[in-house]
Each structure stands twice: as C-alpha cells, then as structure tokens.
Symmetry: C2
Subunit: 541 residues, 2 copies
C-alpha cells in the first residue's frame, strides 16, 4: 500500500471549519467597508470585529468557556449580530430564543440549556425577568438598552449589566478562540415539537461554515451583497445569513420590527440586493401600496421559506421585479436544504406555470448531500408527483442532535437519514413537493387530504388574501377540512361561495366543510399558528 495515509494533520494544512474565519478574513481585507447598519448607527467590518472581540473577551472574563451556553432574547439589532461571533469566539454556544415565547417556556429553555449568561433587549426585559423568576438557574443578565424600542420598561440596573459597559470593560485585542474541533457546538436552537416541551437542536461549527458556503453557491450571491435582515436571527440563526453575509463582505441592514413601510424605506435607502422572509411577508410586500415602493436599479433577490408560497404571491413578486427563490428546511437542518432551482426551460413558461414550479420545495442545496422521499418500508417513492412519503435528508448541515434527548435523537436519525417529519412527493423531474407536515394531513373517510393542496386552491380565489386549513373532527368522516381565511381589503365572499369554488377547482371530497373568516394567528416569523387553529376547529365541530 502506497503511503498516502502517512501524513499527520498539522496547523499548516488543517484548520477546523468555523464561520469565525469569515469575520477574520473580511475584517482583514475590507476593514473600512460598511458592515452593519441600524438606524443611525453604522459599523465597519473592522469595528464589528473589535466589538465581537470585546464581547468574547467579556464573556471569558465571566469565567465562561467551551460548551457554556449563552442565551439571548434579542431583536435583529447589531448586538444580535455580534452575538453570532462574540459568543462562539469565547468557545461558547449561542442560544437564540424566540422573542414571542412566554416566560414559562423561556424559563424551561434557560434551565434545559443550562444558560450561564442571558442577553436581553430592554423591550423584552419584563418577560425575561418573569422567566428568571420561574427558572431554577439564574444566569447573569446583560441588557441591551436600545432607545429606539417602542417601549422602555424600567430596569433595575443594579441587578444587570448594560451591554456597552460590558464591552467597554473587555479587551478589544482579544483574538477570539477558534474551535479545536469543527464538530464543536456553536448554537442551540429550540424548536417546538408537536407535543410537549421544545427540543434543543445543536449546531456545530462545521455545519454553520458549510451552510454559508452552500448558500453562496446555490443562491449565487456575488460579492458585497446588501442584505436587509427581515428574517429573525433567532430563527435558525436567521437562516445562517449572519455568517453568510460576512463571508461575502456584505452590508447587513438590521430591522427591529417588520412592516412593509419600514421594509421599503430601508430597502430603498440602502438599495438592497437580498432579503429573506416567509410567504406571508412576501404577501404583505406584494400587497403594499405602490407609493411606498422604491425603484430598484436591479432585481432584488428574496429567499422564502416556512410554508409553500402561494402561486399568487410568487406571481405578484415576480411582476414587482423581485427574484424569489423558494427554499425548504427545518431548524434541524440549519435552515434551507432544498431549493426550487430554476431549469433553463422554465423561462419560456407563463408566469403562472413558473409560479407553480417555484412553489415546489425542489432539489437539494450544495450544502446537502442527499434528499429523498421514502415510504414506510424505507424505499424511495416513485417519481410520479403523487405518491406521498416522508422527506429524508442527509448531509453536513443536519444537527448534531437534540440536547440531552437520546431517544428523540436516535429516532430522528433512523437508517442513516434525518427524518423531517414532513410528507411530500417527487415529480418526474426529481423536484420534491411538500404535501404536509405529518401532523397537518387530514384523514377524511380513510382518504388523505393535503391541507396544503386545499390552501393552494383557496389562494386562487380572488377575494382570499391569506388561508389556512386544518382538520376538524367529524362524526361521520373522522376528520374534515376546516378553512380559515383573511379576505383582501375591499373584497367579499360567503362561506358557500368559497366551498363551491373549492369543489369546482379540486376533487370535491377535499373541499372545506367550514370556512371561518377573520385574522389568522401568526408566529413571530409570520408562520400561521396551525396549532391554535386546530383547537378552534375542534371547538367548532
């Protein structure tokens, strides 16, 4: 055997993969370039790195180190961005908490994640305080005193440390730690399961590095993107874009709270090139008054995920000059792992046909090794666009596992695949379409009804702006579809009309048996809260 294996790894030829390298490279090469913008604050890449170094140093000064958890309850501000580097540069694990969670759940996360430090936006201070009254652990609190917040609750400054003071006491020259092992944890993201307590999804440095690299390749991001951060960074670390945009030496425009007005103002002011958002966000943008929309000198690229975007939204966005890429992923996969990558011949199709093709979840990103849809026997379903199976994912951007939950971790990694829990089909062209979250399938008279399919039909109705369908218990059929809809301003439709519309636009048995009008409950990320709708539907049956 020839001596190809006869080489030891050395510091010269082996470096653990970590997004920390992105910050160091970009700050070295483009130190004066605009990095992070927030209201009237602007930081260059050199300044951002110094702030991240100070943060890392301050965390180390608190006695924290490798594998210690730092929790944060923050909006999309520069401090939230800084945590994406400063925390791992101290060797610690960044735990971003959904800002819409209740104190009870936050307390659970603090305890389960064994938080050692807790960074909180002043606006969320009361919630954090309530959580810490309920939690067993009492991590020290650092408060970001953001004067631009709508509400400024009183803070007992003797109990907490103010963020800027925390940085000021630290060493701006601290180089930051680089993990010795690229499999080392970098982030802890809690995801709500179907039942019970949220699960702690653990990311590693290798995965976050490769997620960024794969996003650049598959989203074809060019140098110096101007990225408007509409996706909350607490959600899969903002789809990893905090790291990706650093890699490409971009400019990150922070957005504390989304509104179409704020979006378009910042988008125009900074002539943005990229942003991301759930379909509901795109829907709000598409529906906004033209008077608030800036004129772009280029096509703005948007990544959308979290639900299949209705064809109507894709169409409206395309017409408004946005280049939307629909992607699919889960917290467990660091965010996006599938994309509706365009084929050459799509350009010749009608905008409706294109929208239908783009509404599919698609094919794997370059960061993803393989994806398949498997039946219950673990066999790939036929590529017929009809046979439903479970979407399975394999690759380096699949989580390490669920923190302190061996059973769930083992269950998730059955047979060499990560089980997404989502149901889908594969088309003859190899593109995957999500049919339902496993829990969203409606079983009516023994027939499976895809709630997504019913929703897509509802979206075709001219009066319907937002739609969601869930199962409603039914004595005869077991379950029947129940629709919740928001009507477009100025439009009207009756329940009977909508049911008739569905009946004539899809298999009759799939039509909703009930239609409820009114605003739908949504999460911080714009996802419709189906759990709540299911409870409402139950009470209506």
């Amino acid at each position: 055997m020839i001596a190809y294996d006869d080489f030891a790894k050395t510091k010269a030829n082996y470096v653990p993969l970590s997004p920390i390298s992105f910050l160091n490279r970009t700050a070295d090469i483009f130190p004066d370039r605009l990095a992070v913008v927030y209201n009237d604050r602007q930081y260059s890449w050199g300044e951002v790195r110094t702030r991240c170094r100070r943060l890392a140093s301050a965390i180390k000064n608190k006695g924290l180190g490798r594998n210690d958890t730092v929790s944060v309850l923050l909006h999309n501000t520069p401090e939230m961005f800084e945590c994406h580097y400063g925390v791992p540069m101290a060797g610690c694990v960044l735990n971003t908490i959904n800002t819409r969670l209740d104190a009870d759940t936050i307390a659970y996360i603090i305890d389960h994640g064994e938080s050692r430090l807790f960074l909180v936006d002043r606006e969320l201070y009361s919630t954090a305080r309530s959580a810490l009254e309920k939690s067993k652990l009492k991590p020290e609190v650092i408060v970001i005193d953001d004067k631009s917040a709508d509400t400024q609750p009183d803070v007992n400054w003797e109990d907490v440390i103010e963020y800027e003071a925390f940085l000021n006491d630290a060493d701006p020259k601290f180089p930051g730690e680089h993990p010795e092992d690229e499999w080392q944890a970098i982030a802890l993201n809690y995801t709500s399961g179907t039942t019970g307590r949220p699960k702690g999804v653990v990311y590693h440095h290798r995965g976050s590095y490769l997620m960024s690299m794969g996003t650049v390749a598959s989203w074809a991001i060019s140098m110096h993107p101007r990225y408007l951060y509409t996706v909350p960074m607490f959600h899969c670390n903002g789809w990893g874009h905090a790291w990706t945009m650093t890699l490409m030496a971009g400019t990150i425009i922070c957005l504390r709270a989304f509104s179409p007005e704020a979006f378009f103002r910042l988008a125009g002011e900074h002539n943005i090139t990229h942003f991301g958002g759930a379909p509901i966000i795109l829907n709000m943008l598409a529906g906004a008054d033209d008077s608030i929309k800036p004129t772009f000198t280029h096509s703005v690229k948007a990544m959308t995920a979290g639900a299949p975007p209705p064809a109507s939204v894709l169409k409206a966005m395309a017409e408004a000059g946005f280049d939307v890429m629909h992607v699919y992923g889960l917290t467990e996969t660091y965010g996006h792992v599938l994309q509706a990558a365009a084929q050459d011949d799509w350009a010749g199709k009608t905008i409706e046909e294109q929208a239908d093709l783009q509404a599919r979840q698609g094919v794997r990103f370059t960061n993803t090794e393989d994806v398949s849809v498997l039946d219950e026997q673990g066999q790939s379903v036929p590529h017929d666009g009809e046979t439903i199976g479970e979407i399975m994912i394999r690759g380096n951007v699949v989580m390490k596992g669920y923190l302190k939950d061996k059973a769930e971790t083992q269950n998730a990694f059955e047979n060499g695949w990560f089980r997404s829990g989502d149901l889908g089909v594969i088309y003859p062209d190899g593109y995957i379409q999500l049919k339902d979250r496993a829990k969203d399938i409606i079983i009516s008279g023994g027939e499976n009804i895809s709630s997504v399919e019913v929703e897509n039909t509802l979206y075709k109705h001219p009066a319907i702006d937002v739609a969601a369908v869930v199962a409603m218990p039914d004595e005869k059929w077991g379950e029947v579809p129940c629709a919740f809809v928001e009507l477009t301003a100025g439009e009207s439709a009756t329940e009977a009309e909508i049911i008739a519309f569905c009946k004539s636009n899809m298999a009759g048995f799939k039509r909703p048996k009930k239609v409820v009008f009114g605003e739908l409950p949504k999460t911080a990320t714009g996802k419709i809260q189906k759990k709540q709708l299911r409870e409402t539907a139950k009470s209506l049956s």
Copy 2:
C-alpha cells in the same frame, strides 16, 4: 459540563467532504444540461456521470482500489475531465502528468508514484512507451484514440486497451465510492523543485472540495458558467476548475492545444463566461488581431496566475472587455490561494493605477485561513511594501505533504505554516506582492534585486512584448541582472536603449547589464523557463 459533545457522528449528519458530491448533485438536478464539449462531441451531465461511473467501475475491475495511483498523460479532453471523477470514484488517486515532460522524468514519476494504471493520449503514446521502457513498474496502458490530434503515432493495440472499450466493458450503474475519510488522497501532482527530482504533492478530498467552494465565493461564479478550459488540467488539476465548474453546473469547453485563433473561435461559439490562463496567454490574446475576436454580450472573467501579469497586459485585457482577476498559488496549495480582490475605491483610479494594484498577488481566498510574510525570525514583516520576507500560507487547501518524503514535508510545514519559498512584501493595505521566487532573487554587490521588478520595468518599454530577468554571474558584483526579451512585431530597440530605459525608470543599480533578444523558452503552461535562461546567462558571463 453540558452534554454538547455527547453526540456520535451518524450517516445522517456527517458526510466526508469530496468533490464527488458535486457531480452527483449536478447530474441529479441538471441531467440534460450540456456539461462537456469537445469538437463535435457533446455530453450532458447525465452522460458525463455515466461515463465517470463506467470509468470507476472499469478501474475497480482491474483490481484497483483505495490509495492506488492512476497516472494520466492527457490533454484537456473529455477523458481528462472524466478522470477527475472516475479515478477518485474508484477510491484511487489521480496522478496527472505534465504532457511536456521527457520520458525519463515520466518514468521516475511512474515508479515513485507506484502507478497501477496509465492513461495516455494517443499523440503522447511514443513518449509514454519510452517512459515505460525506462521505468521499473509497468502499469497497464489505456490509450485515448483521439482522431483530432495532429499526429497519430502507431499503437500496438494488443499491448494496450482502448479507452472507449475500457468503458464499454464496465458497469454504467456502478454508483462510485465516496471516501470514508475526507482526508483521503484524491490527487498526486508532481512539481519540479529547484534541484533534483520532482516532488509528489498529495491532495485530499476535503481540500479539493473546499478549494471549489472557496473559488465560487471569491471569484463570485454564478450558476451555469461557460468555462473554456485553457489551463492544462495536469496543472494543479486545472486549478481545481474541473471540480468547481461541476459544482456550479457549468459547461466545460475542452481545448486540446491553445492558440489565440482556437481560443477566440470557441469563446465566441460558446459565448464563454470564464477562463483561466498564465499572463503569457493573456498577452497573446490581447495582442491578437481584432478580426479574430468575437463580440461578447458580457464581460468575460479571466483568472490569471503563474507569474505577476505585467500592467500592460492587465490594461490591454481590461480595454478588451475582460475582467481579469490575478491570483497566486502553488501546486502545494491546490492552486490559487491569494487574489488581487478589488477594493471599492479602485474603480475611481486610472486604468494604469488599477493595473498596478491588480498586479499584486493580494489577499487570501475564502479557502485559505491565513497568509503572512515572515522574516527569518518568524515575525511578520512591517506593512510597508518594502521589507521582503517569505510568503507563508495556512489552511485546508494546503497539501497533505510530499509523497514518501518526510524531510521535505517537515521542512515545508515549519512552525505551523506552509513555506511557499516565495519572497514578497506586504503593503499598508494588507495586500501582498510577490517579489521573487526565493531562487529568482539577484544578489548584486550585497543588494537584493527583485527580478520581477526589473521585468515590470522592461514591460513598460513600448517595444518589449515578453521579458524575463535572471542572475548572471559577475566577477565584481557577484551577480548582475541579465534580461531576455522578445520584441513586439514591427518594433525595434537596442541593448543600450533598453538599459538606458531601465536606468531612468528604476534604481540604477537594478538595471540589466546585458540584454539578450529572441524567443524565450516556455513550459507547457506558458511559464518562462528561467532555469534554462539562468544556464544561458551563466554561459554569457
């Protein structure tokens, strides 16, 4: 300690990095898209994968496997491209041999690399045959019977296997092996040292994967590039572009032998977006007659490396609508690791100033962790653009080491850096400029003279087309610069005029003491053979 390390790697969440993944993804998603073009042959990505699978299967059928060496002596044809996947998909190591080498050196490589199989372009069959007469090992020979070659030497077909027959006997469904360890060897590239026999540089799958990812990010390659393969694939695996262009689902246009006519014909026919070439290649293109130049609908991106491009060439290329990126690397670093990445304020400078800035080797690629210029005490030189030190590189695209040469490997990886052997300076903006290969510095009267600096001055002379400067032994000064120049067609200049020009355009002591006119000897990759010039200079002194 919280249980972040308490997770085993599984097949679901850990996949060894390998460029083989690029081929599988691209062939899955874009099976019908044009992948490889050569004369009147065209292969889709589906077809290319099938051919690579056949090749891997055929190699396995010969009893080869992990860490067995497959040598190839091939031009830039589809078969050469296929070897970049078929060989590693059999678990083997691809050893691309420079087609300009003599039989004696090839025999050395065959023996030192322990070749088990030898793929040869028919045109090079006689050389291969002579090499195998000299070598101890006698690997089986596969001949690519390319009818488009200028010469078709007789082949004893009973002794060898014809490539297409080799593929036809193999399994088109063989999935190919994926390395179990990403540190496993993928390629063996011999590089000629200053003295003695060439050294065998070993690449691993991880490095080749990250090289491609980093190239996409730092060269900002968008989807579906149309790449004209002017760089020989035997040189650092064609700068890794065989793998990179697969990652981006590009179209690779093969070019058997470079000429400006062939280049522009193919470039126009395929409306290319990218290519690479040594400055000498760019020089030939810039100087070609306008009548053979196609009109491009876009700016064509060119990567140039191998020598600092003269400002005159960069200027001519920019004026012709080419977007040239100057990069720097070595065989030991998988190719390019530094790039003259543009800063925002360069756009406002004159084309001459831009050319000067772009002629520097620049800053690190995203595939490179760190680069520095160190003095003899291992300290970084001041960023003054003047103090010379050795260029040092660290990262995942640094070779495993030199095959069967522990002493040279250890020497190369001193103190946690790969020692490039090249001398350079760092400017205040952090950009590195190569001053000389260590062996190219001229020491005259105790003063160091950079041969590159003298060459750059020579290139400013309107009559000079190509220039090279080496040391000439001198009784009084020890060494003095000796210039070799090719004049531009139709121009003239005397030795005295050129020496006077240098004297008035740089420090007088650096001027050449002798100027030799005539065509310069060049390697297959267009590099000027300074070794030969040094011998000539010696004989002239």
